[in-house]
């Protein structure tokens, strides 16, 4: 278990796609990826007086084709939910990145630790825009570390009592 405090940026598949296409074309990215944390999330809209709507993680595997490149460009922390593929885990080992799981479907609770939220870019993508979030004690679990240890592989086996 970890508690994250500081700045994290949201990006889902559409934002990843655009960021990497822009990078190829030499167009500036919404934020410098070096040593940053990306939260795979697309929050629901804030009600008047709220910082943000519900803001839980989205399925990370949709970012599997983009993450090796973002890791190469400097991303050290990814926050999401669900398994990652070999390519991502290899990149994490090579460049030193970790994958943290947040509780999927607990978006209302998670939003309580988000203290500030501002849209950085790609607002035309709606909920898929890039947001800069200031978080305080954001709860997560290190699921895959920079050595490739993977809780999704090791933990379920301890409880498996039926083989299909």
């Amino acid at each position: 278990m970890v508690l994250i405090t500081g700045i994290i940026y949201t990006a889902r598949d559409a934002a990843h796609k655009r960021m990497l296409e822009n990078y190829e074309k030499g167009i500036a990215l919404p934020f410098d990826l070096k040593d940053q944390s990306i939260y795979f999330a697309g929050p629901s809209p804030a009600k008047p007086g709220e910082v943000i709507g519900s803001a839980g993680p989205t399925t990370s595997s949709r970012m599997d084709s983009y993450s090796p490149k973002t890791i190469e460009l400097g991303v050290t922390v990814m926050i999401g939910k669900g398994a990652r593929d070999k390519g991502v885990i290899e990149a994490m080992k090579n460049y030193g990145a970790v994958y943290i799981g947040a509780v999927g479907g607990a978006g209302a609770l998670i939003s309580e630790c988000i203290k500030k939220c501002e849209i950085v870019d790609y607002s035309d993508l709606g909920s898929e825009a890039v947001y800069k979030l200031e978080v305080e004690n954001f709860p997560g679990i290190v699921i895959i570390d920079s050595r490739g240890n993977n809780l999704y592989e090791t933990e379920p086996l301890k409880y498996k009592t039926y083989d299909i």
């Binding site: 839980g56 479907g105 301890k158 039926y162």
Partner: protein
């Protein structure tokens, strides 16, 4: 003939979109509590407690339980003696969704075209299923469905010779392959029989049934119970981090089928399985 103003339908749909997304159904809520009480994994227990706390907070603040407030799926069962007046029923349903997602501060997660992918910014169009029934009433069901779990769903066209063992294997394999992706604990809807498209609709309809109520067909009830027990022994656990709470419920719906076929559809859903219904 009974006249029903489509404006009433629109208002109901709007209310139901908001309520379904912010207030977790009782059956699901109770089953999460039950799962928490018997969960063997400490991390799993902690996750289930967070999920319960989240549902409480969402209800109290009328905030979405999950930010993926889904694509709105609407079932309309209209009595044959009903006459819709003051507009087009299809437009009224979509207007209800539009207003609900705007006024409820729900996320707009629909793109206009599967290839062009431009957000419609109002969560329309809804997926609408119409049925004609007897009488002069209209039953409306709204079931917003997130895609983290929808993406893990599958259809199998089994051979009749594969029989019940083939069905069990298909359902359990689908759950195992879904793993950590659909935010387990999951709710699973299974449709058996019919043809290719009907099996999928049956699976979706199975998700609309209260998970505490079992099938009224004895052999199907037994199958539901067996699959529930086996799925919870796969080890996946809350959020895929290990444990004995992998599914909260498995509901099965069936229909007659062709002599040459055995369609099985598995619609994976999550601990934020949402639906509301009303009768006008």
């Amino acid at each position: 003939m009974r006249d029903i103003d489509v404006g009433i339908i629109k208002d109901k749909i709007k209310e139901m979109c908001i309520e379904a997304n912010c207030i977790l159904n009782d059956d699901i809520y109770c089953s999460i509590q039950k799962a928490r009480d018997i969960e063997k994994s400490e991390i799993g227990k902690d996750i289930l407690n967070q999920i319960i706390k989240n549902a409480d907070l969402a209800k109290q603040k009328l905030k979405p339980i999950c930010q993926d407030t889904g694509m709105a799926v609407v079932f309309i069962e209209a009595g044959q003696d009903v006459h819709f007046i003051n507009g087009n029923i299809n437009d009224a349903i979509n207007e209800g969704v539009r207003e609900g997602y705007k006024e409820g501060y729900l996320r707009k997660s629909v793109v206009n075209d599967p290839i062009l992918r431009v957000n419609t910014f109002d969560n329309t169009p809804a997926v609408i299923h119409y049925y004609i029934t007897a009488g002069d009433k209209v039953k409306i069901t709204v079931a917003p469905k997130g895609f983290g779990s929808e993406n893990m769903s599958k259809i199998y066209m089994l051979k009749p010779s594969e029989g019940i063992e083939g069905i069990k294997k298909s359902v359990l394999k689908t759950i195992e392959a879904a793993g950590s992706n659909p935010c387990p604990p999951m709710v699973v809807g299974v449709g058996i029989g019919g043809n290719f498209e009907l099996s999928a609709i049956l699976a979706k309809k199975a998700l609309l049934r209260d998970i505490r109520i079992k099938s009224d067909k004895e052999h199907i009830r037994q199958l539901e119970e067996e699959l529930f027990e086996k799925a919870n022994r796969l080890g996946i656990g809350p959020q895929g981090l290990g444990g004995n709470s992998t599914v909260l419920g498995i509901n099965i719906e069936t229909f007659a089928t062709h002599i040459a076929g055995l369609p099985v559809a598995v619609n994976i859903s999550c601990h934020v399985t949402r639906h509301r219904e009303c009768i006008i």
